[in-house]
């Protein structure tokens, strides 16, 4: 029963298949898993835009409600970008939008039903100080952090500490790279900035199609958190499908870019999982080539893909909780291992574990 619910959800998320006609009971389980994975609005949009399935009426109300919520978020993002662009143009900088906000601004398929909590943008590192100062004049302030976290962001991270707007309450993440600088896979940010493309009909910019996919894949594999893993995987599926439709040569360009930026490994895992779970149309030769670029051995492949499949299951009792938790914890450790050298990592993890322990006792 519990495995069935996840299989049912995956079937609804596969764009090239129509899936079974589900009973009400199975639909309820699909909606519950989708809710815990931030995917209800996405299901709504899949039914509406792609007609890949037809929900029964009782389910349709739930989907429609999530759809309304998503539309509200679209309006909020558009307004925030409009306001942020003023700050950027004052400084003579292009506003480069990342992730969910970019998909929304550019009306990409990956934006369909995509819900998120913060606006993400990318700036050259040299402009961060100036930009942060300008943000203050427009009502943005940094959320308070202790000295350790402040130091962590300033020296090791690829983004400023989160900013919040004093009136509108929106959260803003200002990035200067897509992975932390302490990470061995950290690409040259200038290459990303140089390849950014204008979003048609707007003054905003976003990463190139290849870099968007690479960013999403690295975020999934190195972000350390898998709470939104399945949602991120559907992003990658949508990004890839649309990019391939727009450009027949896209997969080859993607491989070349992954090699150039040194991100073949996270891309391999992300695409592998996409194909395995969502049946994303991808040739085996693409995966093979990535695997050899990333110098990924057989044993490591087997181990990692097994952990990855477990971690991508929604964290919900309908979906076998313990295996998911263990897999997510292993990938959390792995992401930190890749992101930080051991002399930074070990004290950092000890500190986090201590904080978690003392916090849970205080409750």
């Amino acid at each position: 029963m519990t495995k069935l619910a996840f299989t049912d959800l995956l079937a609804k998320l596969r764009l090239s298949e129509s899936g079974d006609c589900l009973s009400d009971q199975r639909w309820e389980q699909v909606v519950r898993l989708a809710r815990s994975s931030g995917l209800v609005a996405r299901l709504a949009l899949y039914a509406q835009r792609f007609g890949s399935f037809r929900p029964p009426e009782s389910v349709a109300w739930t989907l429609q409600s999530a759809h309304s919520y998503w539309l509200a978020q679209q309006r909020i993002v558009q307004w925030e970008l409009y306001e942020l662009e003023k700050v950027c143009s004052f400084l003579g900088l292009p506003l480069i939008v990342l992730k969910g906000s970019a998909y929304c601004a550019a009306d990409l398929h990956a934006g369909l039903g995509r819900v998120f909590n913060d606006i993400d943008i990318l700036l050259p590192k040299s402009k961060l100080g100036e930009f942060k100062e300008a943000l203050k004049w427009h009502g943005w302030y940094q959320l308070p952090l202790d000295r350790y976290d402040q130091h962590y962001y300033e020296h090791w991270m690829h983004e400023l500490p989160p900013m919040r707007h004093i009136k509108r309450g929106t959260t803003l993440d200002v990035h200067h790279n897509i992975v932390p600088e302490t990470c061995s896979l950290c690409p040259n940010a200038q290459l990303l900035l140089d390849a950014a493309v204008n979003i048609d009909g707007t003054a905003y910019w976003m990463l190139s199609p290849e870099d968007r996919l690479l960013h999403s894949a690295t975020h999934l594999m190195l972000g350390g958190e898998f709470d939104n893993g399945l949602r991120d995987l559907t992003d990658i599926d949508l990004l890839l499908r649309q990019a391939c439709d727009d450009d027949a040569d896209f997969q080859r360009k993607l491989l070349a870019r992954a090699a150039q930026l040194g991100l073949a490994l996270p891309l391999f895992y992300a695409l592998w999982a996409c194909k395995a779970l969502l049946h994303t149309p991808l040739s085996d030769s693409v995966l093979h080539e990535l695997q050899s670029t990333a110098k990924l051995g057989r044993l490591r492949l087997k181990l990692m893909t097994a952990i990855l499949l477990a971690a991508l299951r929604p964290s919900h009792p309908l979906c076998d909780g313990l295996g998911v938790a263990v897999a997510r914890w292993l990938l959390y450790l792995r992401s930190h291992w890749l992101k930080m050298p051991p002399q930074l990592l070990i004290p950092h993890l000890l500190r986090k574990a201590w904080l978690r322990l003392s916090n849970s006792e205080a409750h």
Binding site: S23, D24, Q25, W27, E28, V31, R32, R35, S36, P56, S58, V59, W61, T62, Q64, S65, S68, Y69, L71, A72, R75, S315, H316, P317
Partner: protein
Amino acid sequence: MPSHDAARVLQIGPFRVRIHCDIPAVKQGLDRLYADYPQHPSSVFCDFQIRLFPPVGIRRFIRKQVIFAFDQFIPFKPLPYNQAMPFFEWGLNWCISGYAHRFLIIHAAVIEKHGKALMMPGTPGAGKSTLCAALVNQGWRLLSDELTLIDCQSGVIQPVPRPVSLKNQSIDLIAQRYPDAIFSPVVNDTLKGSVALMKPPQAAVVRADETAMPAVVVFPAFQPNAELSLAPLSQATAFMKLADLSFNYSVLGSVGFDVLANMVADCRAYDFAYGGDFDQAAETFDALLGDAAS
């Protein structure tokens, strides 16, 4: 976690709610106050999965608490154990106002006569629940004492009759005036003071799928010993006051604007001050609805 068959599935207005709870106060509360609500087999699609349970650890024994969960999500801090039944009501309000965006949802009591609805929006303390409880006991049909659901497609009001939540002095006032009314035990020391839930009349629950046309909006303001007064409001003022009291006006965007503007255009709206004379209020509202018919 309670086993799956411990759940009951209730039809509450347009919503199907799956409730898992082993806490005696909630079971008794549901038996008593929700006796007339249709029950479904567990195989139906449910909009909300609600669990109420005590936390693990020390707080299970010392200063016992209760947790409210919407499926796996826990939106609130735990409350004292004895508040479990009102917590169920507050939590369900939260689920509806956050996840039922096919309706424009306004923080208002709403009652019906002759197919026409009279809304009483109000900030806490304005006396809407008390007035609502009184009128419901005088033959008006309860559509909701807390959440007015306006269907975005048709503009009609969708009933979601629930137990009426009465606070502090209102509890005795209504219980003495209407001795036939059935109440939950009084729960003291909640954030809202003492709270008791009044069982909705059976007719209101049975007719929960009969929608009503919005006709009159009164913004009640209870002041002890005040003279009854009724002051007409302009459409624009009524609109702004209602938008301000809506839970999801901003979520619905232009749809919400249109639904509310259409409703306000079809309604008459008043500021209503009264000193607690229910008969006088009922007469006034009867006259208002009578006028609205012509």
